[in-house]
Symmetry: C2
Subunit: 416 residues, 2 copies
C-alpha cells in the first residue's frame, strides 16, 4: 500500500494501475504480489510476457549477465554480440522477403520506423493511411494513425493521415484514394487483429484486397504485429493467417525489444537516416528476446497456442449460452469477448482480480483473454470459472465494489 | 569480423557502427572488444554510461535480478517496486517544483511526452518551438523539432513547429511570436548545451530571457536534458548553470530509462492521456538508474565531473595553441572542440580508434569529449596524447586510411 501511495503521488501518468505490486515470486501463469497474494495472469503484461513467470530457460539467459555492466550500450554505434544474434534469430522466423531489421526501444518506435522508411522511399508522399479503431502507439507519429480511443489523442498534434474503415469497404476507399494520386500515399498500415481497438479480426477479403491494391500501386503495406506477433495468434505473425506478406512490419512486446522488419531494399541507403541510441544495445533485453524465440521453437509452443486458443473459445462459447458473454472472437491465444456494458466489463475485471485472476479490457466493452503461451487446459478452466462467477456477481442488480481495492482503482480499462 | 558482417547484412540501419564488438571485459573507462583489444572510452555509449565498465555498485544491483524473470513488466498497468523506487530517487535530485515523473523507454519518448503534456494543457495551441541545430530525438514528434542534420529529417512528415535562432536573438523572435498569439504556442523546448548540433553552450542571457517570456505568457518551457542531464555538466541538470527552472524536462541516457519530469499539475488529469506498455516496467533498467543516482551522490561524482572537465579544457586549450584544435567549449565533462574540416574530423576519430581511444563527432566538424564521470587525470592525459598524435597524422598531406578498418566504416560521425 505504501508503494501504491508513492506511485499515486509521484507518477505523472494517472492512476490506471492495478492495485498490487509484483514480487519476484511466481511460476508459469501464476505470480505473487508483495503481500503474498497469488494471481493467475491472463493479461501477460499486455502480451509482453509469452513464457510466464520464472521460466527456467529465460532465467538461465539472464543469469549469464549477472556479472557484467553496463546493461545498455549505444547499440547502433557500438556493437554488441547480442544484437547480431537477435537479428539472425528474428529473421529466421520471418518470410524470406523480410530479410533485414532495425532494433529499437518500444512498439511505438517500431511503428514509427516502419512508417519512416516508407516515407523516405516515397519521396512524393504527403500522407499515410490506417484504419478506424487501429492502435499503433503513442509517440506523435504512431499516434497520428491511432483511432481506438479519443483520450489517446485529445489535444495532440498529428502528421497528415487518412482512415479506411476496418471492413470490406476498406479496399473500395483505398482504391478511390489511389485514383486521386497513389504517389501521395506513403504507406498503408494495419493490424490484422486490432488490439486496443477491441480484438477485431480483419476479414481475409479485406486484407487480401488491400494488399493487392498496395502492390499494384507500389504503396508499401505495413503490418503492425506489436501485439499480434511472435506467436500470439498461433502463427509467428498474424498476417500468415491471411496468406499475404507485407512490405514492412513492426514487432515488440513478446519480442522483448522493438523491431522494424522489412526487405533490405526498403531501408534508407543513407547512413544516419534512421538510428537510436539504445536500439540494439540492451544486452539483457536482446538476449531474452533471442532466447524467447528459441524456446517457442523448441517447445513447439505455437501448437499449444493453437490448441489452447480453440479450447478458450469453446469454453467461452459455452458460457455465452447464458446470454451475457457475447461476440467471442480472436485468433490463437489472442481472444476477447464483450459484456453488455462498459460498466459491467470494468466491474467484472475488478471482481475477477479480487478472485485472483488478472484480465485486461479492450475496445468499448471487451475483455481480453491473453494468457502466456504455456497455459494449460486446467488453468483455462480455472480462469473461466472465475469469469463466470464474476459476471454473475457483477450483473446482480445491487452490485457495487467495496473495500481497499476502490482506493486505488477507478477503472480497470487498460489504456496502454 | 563475422559478427560485423552479419550486422552489415541484417541491420536495417546502415553501416555507421564502429568496427569492433564489445565483450564483457572492461574496467572503469576501459573496455575490451571480442578480439581482446583494449580501448579507452571517451564516448560513454553516447553519454549513456556515466559509471564506466563493470562498476562494482552497478554489478551488485544487476546481480539481484539474476534469479528472476520476466525482466519487463507493463509498468504503467502492473506495478513493480523498482518503478516507485526510481521515481523517489529521481525526484530527490530535481528542483521541488518538478515533483512528478512519467517513466518511459527512450530519450525520444521522454521528449515526446514532455511535448504531449504541454499540448494537452494548452488547448488552443497549434505549434511548438525549438532552436536551430537542436536535436530532440527521432520519433516523428521529437524529430519535428530537431534541426541538427538534414539527413535525420529528409522525407519525414512533421507536426507544426517553428524555430528560434540559438543566440541572443532568440528572445526577440520569441517575443514577436507571442505578439502574434501566445495561446497558439504549445511549448518552447531547448537544449542548454546542444548535443548532436555541436555541443554549443547557450548564453545565460538567452536562456533567462526566453524563460521570462515563457513565464509571462504562460508558455511551458521544456529543457531537454537527455544528453546534458544526470550530472554530465557537473550539476545534476544543465539548466542549473543558468539559474532557471523549467516547467518540464526530459531525461534518459545516463538515467538508464526515459523520463518526462514536470510539476504534477502540468500532467493530464485524464487517465490514459499518456501511457506506455514497458514504461516504468523494466526492473533491471529501473534498478540500475536508481543505483546510478545513488552512486553519483555517494561518491560525490559531480565534483569529479567539474574538476576533470576543467582539466580537459585546460589540456585542449594547450593543444589548441598549435592552431588546429579550435573552439574548445562545454560544461563539466560535456566538452567538444572543432577541427578545420569534416574530413579531418572523421579521419581523426578513426585514427584515434586505431590507437585505442573511442571518440564521437558532433556538429559539422566537432569532436566530443564525454568520458565516464569516474575518469581520472591520468586517463585524460592518455586521451589527449592520442588526440594530439592522431591530429598530427591526419593533417599530414598524404594521409589516408588503410587496413581492415576501412571495410566496416565509411565515416565515424555519430548519427544517433
Amino acid at each position: 500500500v505504501k508503494i501504491l501511495r508513492t506511485m499515486k503521488r509521484l507518477n505523472g501518468a494517472r492512476g490506471v494501475s492495478y492495485p498490487y505490486v509484483h514480487s519476484k515470486e511466481g511460476s508459469g501463469c501464476y505470480f505473487k504480489d508483495l503481500d503474498g497474494n497469488t494471481f493467475l495472469d491472463f493479461a501477460s503484461q499486455v502480451c509482453s510476457n509469452p513464457l510466464g513467470y520464472n521460466h527456467p530457460g529465460i532465467k538461465e539467459t539472464i543469469k549469464q549477465y549477472m556479472n557484467r555492466s553496463p546493461v545498455k550500450f549505444a547499440g547502433q554505434d557500438f556493437l554488441v554480440k547480442e544484437h547480431g544474434d537477435l537479428l539472425e534469430e528474428l529473421l529466421s522466423i520471418t518470410p524470406k522477403q523480410l530479410n533485414a531489421a532495425f532494433l529499437i526501444n518500444s512498439g511505438a518506435e517500431a511503428v514509427e520506423n516502419a512508417m519512416k522508411i516508407c516515407m523516405h522511399k516515397r519521396t512524393s508522399s504527403t500522407f499515410g493511411i490506417s484504419c478506424t479503431n487501429d492502435f499503433h502507439g503513442r509517440t506523435l507519429g504512431a499516434l497520428s494513425y491511432t483511432h481506438s480511443n479519443p483520450v489517446h489523442k485529445k489535444g495532440f498534434f498529428t502528421v497528415p493521415n487518412k482512415q479506411l474503415p476496418f471492413s470490406d469497404q476498406a479496399p473500395v476507399v483505398l482504391e478511390q484514394l489511389t485514383r486521386q494520386g497513389a504517389k501521395k500515399i506513403a504507406f498503408v498500415i494495419m493490424e490484422m487483429v486490432q488490439g486496443e481497438g477491441g480484438y477485431n479480426v480483419a476479414s481475409k477479403k479485406m486484407i487480401r484486397d488491400v494488399r493487392k491494391i498496395c502492390s499494384s500501386n507500389s504503396i508499401p503495406f505495413i503490418c503492425d504485429e506489436v501485439q499480434s506477433g511472435m506467436g500470439r495468434t498461433g502463427k509467428w505473425w498474424a498476417f500468415q493467417h491471411f496468406g499475404i506478406v507485407p512490405d514492412a512490419m513492426s514487432s515488440a512486446k513478446a519480442l522483448n525489444v522493438g523491431a522494424t522488419i522489412a526487405n533490405k531494399k526498403l531501408f534508407p541507403v543513407e547512413e544516419g537516416a534512421i538510428s537510436s541510441t539504445w536500439g540494439g544495445g540492451n544486452i539483457i533485453d536482446l538476449a531474452v528476446g533471442c532466447q524467447t524465440i528459441k524456446i517457442i521453437k523448441k517447445k513447439r509452443l505455437l501448437s499449444n497456442v493453437q490448441q489452447q486458443g480453440m479450447y478458450v473459445k469453446k469454453r467461452l462459447n459455452e458460457v455465452s449460452a447464458h446470454g451475457v458473454v457475447r461476440n467471442v472472437r480472436g485468433l490463437g491465444l489472442m481472444v476477447a469477448f464483450d459484456l453488455p456494458t462498459k460498466k459491467i466489463r470494468d466491474d467484472m475485471i475488478l471482481e475477477s482480480l479480487q478472485r485472483g485472476l488478472v484480465l485486461l479490457g479492450c475496445g468499448p466493452k471487451g475483455v481480453r483473454i491473453v494468457p502466456p503461451f504455456i497455459v494449460s487446459r486446467r488453468e483455462i478452466d480455472e480462469a473461466i470459472n472465475i469469469i463466470e462467477a464474476s459476471i454473475k456477481r457483477c450483473c446482480a442488480k445491487d452490485f457495487s465494489h467495496t473495500g481497499a481495492i476502490c482506493q486505488f482503482t477507478s477503472c480497470t480499462t487498460s489504456t496502454t
